[in-house]
């Protein structure tokens, strides 16, 4: 009986994995084929990889775009984690009516479609003279109600006795946060880091508007302009997509251990 149910679980997970992985396999195959083979749906490896890579490097300034994307995603993620976890901690551990109301208000900010606030936001950054900088891309989403909410909800299961113990030891509020809360919440930070990194890395609409010169562009902007040509070369596009996807996968690999080890283990 036990065996059977475990077999069922594996079968279910295998199907889910195959469905999930299929596009990646296709992407990797596409990378090695010509555009017209991809369009025809050829599902076997070809020999065009080198030529596709060379053409892509020729056509775009991929190195600069990679660097811009990396800078924005890393600084943005660190900033978001610090600020959002601070707020999530403050809102949940020190709940009060006033804070609940303020948080309710902040929640409204994530419900507004970005296209509707883009123009005023653009005007604002222009007035601050910050257009065409990574700062302009990072700042508007450096704290989001979304991430604050995530930290709040996770903090609900945070063992508050730890804080009491810390207070007895004479730790101040900031040290309690930094030395007791942060290490305990590692799995939450890891999940938040993956999601935030991904959001920054893939963000499109705002970088498109805020960045103005070719040398400041991020990777998604490059991919988008490749895909819209009159005669799109899907082989080149596939290479660009694989390069764009890899860093997020890497971050996931690096951080996933954090939330499978178990929180209780990491406290000790």
């Amino acid at each position: 009986m036990r065996k059977l149910s475990s077999l069922g679980i594996h079968l279910f997970l295998i199907i889910a994995s195959v469905v999930s992985l299929f596009p990646f396999v296709w992407m990797l195959i596409g990378m090695t084929n010509t555009s017209s083979d991809i369009v025809k749906g050829k599902f076997s490896f070809g020999s065009m990889l080198q030529s596709n890579v060379t053409k892509l490097l020729d056509m775009t300034n991929l190195g600069a775009a990679f660097w811009n994307s990396t800078l924005i995603a890393i600084i943005g993620t660190i900033g978001t984690l610090v600020l959002s976890s601070m707020a999530g901690y403050g809102f949940e551990i020190y709940r009060s009516k006033g804070k609940d109301r303020l948080f309710g208000l902040l929640m409204l900010s994530m419900m507004m479609p970005f296209a509707a606030v883009m123009i005023p936001l653009f005007r604002m950054f222009s007035n601050m003279g910050m257009l065409n900088t990574p700062t302009a891309v990072i700042l508007p989403s450096i704290t989001t109600a979304f991430m604050i909410f995530f930290f709040m909800q996770n903090t609900k299961s945070f063992p508050r006795e730890l804080l009491q113990a810390g207070r007895v030891d004479g730790l101040g509020e900031w040290r309690l946060f930094a030395q007791v809360y942060v290490p305990t919440m590692k799995p939450t930070y890891a999940a938040a880091a993956i999601i935030t990194f991904m959001n920054y890395w893939n963000s499109f609409l705002w970088p498109l508007i805020a960045l103005q010169t070719q040398d400041k562009k991020t990777l998604p902007l490059i991919v988008s302009s490749l895909a819209s040509s009159y005669n799109p070369d899907y082989g080149i596009i596939m290479v660009a997509i694989v390069i764009t996807t890899l860093p997020t996968v890497l971050i996931f690999f690096l951080l996933q251990k954090q939330f499978v080890q178990g929180m209780l283990g990491s406290v000790k």
């Binding site: 296209a115 993956i194 939330f259």
Partner: protein
């Protein structure tokens, strides 16, 4: 105890102030500007005050009505399926004795990092009239004639729902997995000793313990679905007819595809805000913030 709490609740503000100020500056200030814009009408930079005209236009606008109906359908069908799936997968992957979980975890997470371009090209080719899916279904004799998935208003919606579920299930799984680390494994051990089945454990331990996170993902997904844009634009571009168009796509069209009417676009945006806010409020009530 009482005085200590008051003191510490005052203290809490130092953690909250700076992040809140940033959100107020970068989100609320533009939101107020777009609220003002929603009372104006015109094209591009040529505007005049129009009172509530934009708001009354909403109620007689067939495109808007269609977009709202489509979006609500996605919401009602897709969000529960996706969250349930994400939760079940996370539960399996959290079983201490399961093998190959690293592989499964990575594989199932991957779709949400895929570039939309590749995902759109791929989904279109899978669901093409002579695409893989039709060929498979025909070879096992489920269907006689190929189905024109993306040209039929009903099937096109099914494809969109499948696409969103494919892309975002792994994303929600991450939230659940990380939250499951907060459950002490000894709770499960005790339950096993008491003879509770895995299914029982799932419903009587995992689900209640994860309630705050389930609530979180429900609100986030509701918000995400009501603002759904990328999938639809890239896979069906709202078609056939306008049968898959979403509210966000309509806002985008009003601002950047049609002769720009930013005033009306702002009005439609506020319609989304109101809908999400009401739904989030309901979810918070039902999801029991009582504890």
């Amino acid at each position: 105890m009482g005085s200590k709490w008051n003191k510490s609740s005052l203290m809490g503000w130092q953690f909250v102030l700076l992040p809140s100020a940033l959100i107020l500056l970068f989100s609320f200030y533009p939101m107020l500007q777009s609220l003002l814009l929603s009372f104006q009408s015109g094209k591009g930079t040529v505007y005049q005050y129009a009172g509530l005209a934009n708001y009354s236009r909403l109620f007689s606008d067939p495109m808007f009505k269609q977009a709202v109906l489509n979006t609500l359908l996605y919401l009602v069908v897709q969000v529960p399926v996706m969250l349930m799936l994400g939760l079940v997968i996370a539960y399996f992957l959290n079983m201490p004795k399961l093998r190959f979980k690293g592989f499964y975890r990575t594989a199932i997470f991957l779709p949400c990092v895929t570039s939309l371009v590749s995902y759109a090209v791929l989904f279109k080719s899978i669901f093409a009239v002579d695409g893989i899916l039709n060929r498979m279904l025909m070879s096992i004799r489920v269907i006689q004639e190929p189905i024109a998935w993306l040209m039929d208003p009903v099937w096109a919606k099914v494809v969109i729902i499948a696409a969103i579920t494919w892309r975002w299930t792994g994303y929600n799984m991450i939230f659940y997995l990380s939250a499951m680390q907060n459950i002490d494994p000894s709770v499960y051990e005790a339950a096993s000793i008491d003879g509770a089945s895995k299914t029982r454990q799932f419903f009587s331990i995992t689900v209640p313990m994860l309630k705050p996170i389930i609530l979180f993902t429900a609100i986030i997904s509701t918000n995400g679905t009501l603002q759904l844009f990328d999938e639809v634009v890239n896979i069906t571009n709202g078609g056939p007819g306008n049968s898959t168009m979403t509210i966000s796509q309509y806002i985008y069209n009003l601002s950047f595809v049609y002769t720009p009417n930013f005033g009306y676009a702002a009005t439609v945006s506020y319609a989304i805000v109101v809908m999400v806010a009401v739904l989030a409020f309901l979810q918070l009530k039902v999801g029991g913030e009582k504890q």
